[in-house]
Amino acid sequence: MIGITNGAFIALIALGYTLVYGIIELINFAHGDLFMLGTFVCLSTLTLLGFSTEVGTTGTPWFALLLAMLAAMIFCGLLNVLAERIAYRPLRRAPRLAPLISAIGVSFIFVNIGLFWQGPTPRRFPDLLPQYDFMSQLFGFTTLIRFTFKDLFVLALAIPLMLGLAWVIRSTRMGKAMRAVAQDSEMAQQMGIDVNRVIAFTFLLGGVLAGAASLMYGLYNNNTVFTLGFTAGLKAFTAAVLGGIGNVNGAALGGFVLGLLSALTVTYAGGQWENVGVFSLLVIILVFKPTGLLGQETGEKA
């Protein structure tokens, strides 16, 4: 199950790339680093609440986990909105390369904040979830494929989040405005939509999802480091491209597919090949099917 569960974090981060790309055609390089900062917010919140390293003898502190997740969601959401306001919005009418470079700059800033905050070495993330493998303990199987409580925890959070996002985009007033802006922002404005607000809301959504993913990642993998944003960002970006960048369902699908592929690469070729596999996949998609699995024809305006 490791593949599917990793797929869930990747999908949540990939959604942040794809939402932003869909609406302003910006590849938000800083998004992976935002996720990294999210893991640090979770870590600090848990430390502050007294759950710093190992599983408490009193069992899982659900309330503390909830607080940590909310803190990371709020932090990442607002930070993403702030980055948009300061670093991308002033460049909205500039040539496409300008906001891209600005995003790389924001990425550097986030990485350095992470470095300053938690230092250069990997940090252990407290292992606070019950150790329970449904496969062996419930059904008596001992197989290579395990389905642990941690897997359940991640999927039980990630899937409702994704369904919730789908609902927001499909059915709410703001979601419809997002789709209108994504397709033709000038016409959306003519309808009376405040385009700046809609774009800010999109960054908020992407950040909130990254914040939620950061708690899941920390609890699942029990470590984090300031360079996490690069690897996580690379995978999530690849997933977004795989699904068709700008396409929300595609990003979710791409996340799960990529999670499985990386798990298979690790199992059959070894961990050192994982990033090679991901990069190769990215190159292959870009060369042979740049619109991705569910991608729209680019530039569809008619």
């Binding site: 405005a177 209108a180 000038e186 003519q190 309808m191 008619a302």
Partner: protein
């Protein structure tokens, strides 16, 4: 006081001047048409009124408000709805969602909105049959109806229509112009931009002729249709 008044408007694309002091008025209840050949500045005029483009000089008045100082997304709230050149419906959204977007700025009760949905369905029964369909899959004529319907959903006081007949088969052109007349008969004020001067003058009350960014003629539609210069240049007569 006219409902909508454009005064000495100069609009530029970068350094290129597209409008060189355009002035026109639209009175309540009128259909006013703006005709002129390709590139004359008709679209630029409508986009300036709608706030998409900002004039370097001049004013656009809606009642006592100067629209050139109002944010583009607020203009629809002051009663101006724009059905743009090329329709620009939201092709990846459903027909129903397109109409909802048209009503986005409305704050009146849902019952009032429902009335306007019904009115649009009455004008365009074809749309009612296709509410859940993706707008991009509609035929050209249906897309034009949707663009007009979407603008009507704002319940505007002035409707700006940019070449509603463009690319349509002759029967559909007839239907669209007939519909514009019906909408006007129900009390809507219309500013109609057309290259199809013949049809436009046949339904309008008054008209303006635009040439390379300047208004060169303005008169009743009837007089324009009989004007020598208009007949030669825009009605294709010798």
């Amino acid at each position: 006081m006219p409902l909508l008044e454009v005064q000495q408007v100069h609009t530029y694309y970068g350094n290129i001047q597209a409008l060189k002091g355009v002035s026109l008025k639209v009175e309540k209840g009128e259909i006013v048409t703006l005709i002129g050949s390709n590139g004359a500045g008709k679209t630029t005029t409508l986009r300036t009124i709608a706030g998409v483009l900002r004039p370097r000089k001049g004013t656009v008045r809606m009642g006592d408000r100067d629209l050139t100082k109002v944010p583009a997304n607020e203009i629809v709230r002051l009663g101006v709805a724009h059905s743009p050149e090329g329709r620009r419906i939201f092709s990846r959204m459903s027909v129903k969602e397109n109409l909802e977007m048209g009503a986005y700025a409305r704050t009146d009760p849902p019952a009032e909105l429902a009335k306007d949905f019904e009115r649009v369905y009455e004008l365009f029964p074809r749309l009612k049959e296709r509410l859940t369909q993706r707008a991009g899959t509609l035929s050209g004529g249906e897309q034009q109806m949707l663009a007009i319907g979407r603008a009507l959903m704002a319940r505007p006081t002035v409707l700006l229509l940019d070449e509603p007949s463009m690319g349509l088969a002759p029967v559909l052109v007839e239907l669209v112009f007939k519909t514009i007349q019906d909408i006007n008969a129900q009390g809507m004020t219309v500013l109609l931009v057309e290259q199809n001067a013949h049809m436009a003058l046949s339904i309008a009350h008054r008209g303006y002729v635009l040439q390379t960014g300047r208004i060169v003629l303005s008169d009743s539609a009837k007089n324009l249709a009989e004007n020598e210069m208009v007949r030669k240049a825009y009605l294709g007569e010798e």
